[in-house]
């Protein structure tokens, strides 16, 4: 079972945990991305996330399905923000339940690593003196 959402409101970690919790699970691993106050020594004021929404939802579903095939896991929730985030806000929450703990860690790390490579979502970092689309240029 998977729960994939793109949201313009603050993410609810407990909602993701509740979704994956199961009597058959012995382990839940949760990854929360958070907005850091600096990148390469520059102070970040806020972030803006833009998504190709239809494709981002499809890609996140594909990643969750592949994680279910590759690892012994039970349920996966992936919630991602769009719009403006302040410092300390959470762009992404991933929760994975599994009978055993190692699978929960491996699957959760697989999901975030793959999400960062393939899901069409873009982050713009806003500094006091400018802004930049992350990773756009070499």
């Amino acid at each position: 079972m998977i729960d994939i959402q793109l949201l313009s409101t603050p993410l609810d970690v407990q909602h993701c945990i509740d979704f994956v919790t199961s009597d058959a699970a012995g382990a839940v691993n949760v990854f929360i991305g958070t907005v850091r106050n600096s990148t390469k020594g520059k102070r970040v004021v806020r972030l803006e996330f833009e998504a190709y929404e239809a494709m981002a939802l499809l890609e996140m579903k594909n990643i969750a399905r592949r994680a279910m095939e590759k690892f012994q896991v039970l349920k996966i929730a992936i919630h991602h923000r769009v719009g403006t985030l302040q410092l300390g806000g959470a762009p992404v929450v991933i929760a994975v339940s599994a009978p055993h703990r190692h699978a929960s860690f491996e699957a959760c790390q697989y999901v975030i690593d793959t999400l960062k490579e393939t899901v069409p979502i873009w982050k713009k970092e806003i500094f006091e003196d400018g802004e930049v689309w992350v990773a756009a240029h070499p």
Partner: protein, 80 residues
């Protein structure tokens, strides 16, 4: 044929629009679209990478395009 061209992130800043119509000769492939875009927006070549998706799936250079396809310019993603 007419395509829908979507641009995101820095690609939207370069093409100026998130959503536009795009005209191509019948039978064109993704590689042809890429060449056409590079001529019209040479600054796209300065990106670390530019993937192209057709109807919400990443597409190879050899993929044939057809009337009504939704084609998206995907600069390096940075979600998470």
């Amino acid at each position: 044929m007419k395509l829908t061209l979507l641009s995101f992130g820095i690609a939207k800043d370069i093409t100026g629009q998130r959503f536009r119509e795009w005209e191509m000769p019948d039978g064109a492939k993704v590689a042809g679209l890429r060449a056409q875009l590079a001529r019209q927006y040479p600054i796209l070549n300065e990106l670390s990478a530019l993937r192209i998706a057709v109807n919400s799936e990443y597409a190879g250079e050899d993929m044939a395009l057809k009337e009504g396809d939704e084609v998206a310019l995907i600069p390096p993603v940075s979600g998470g």
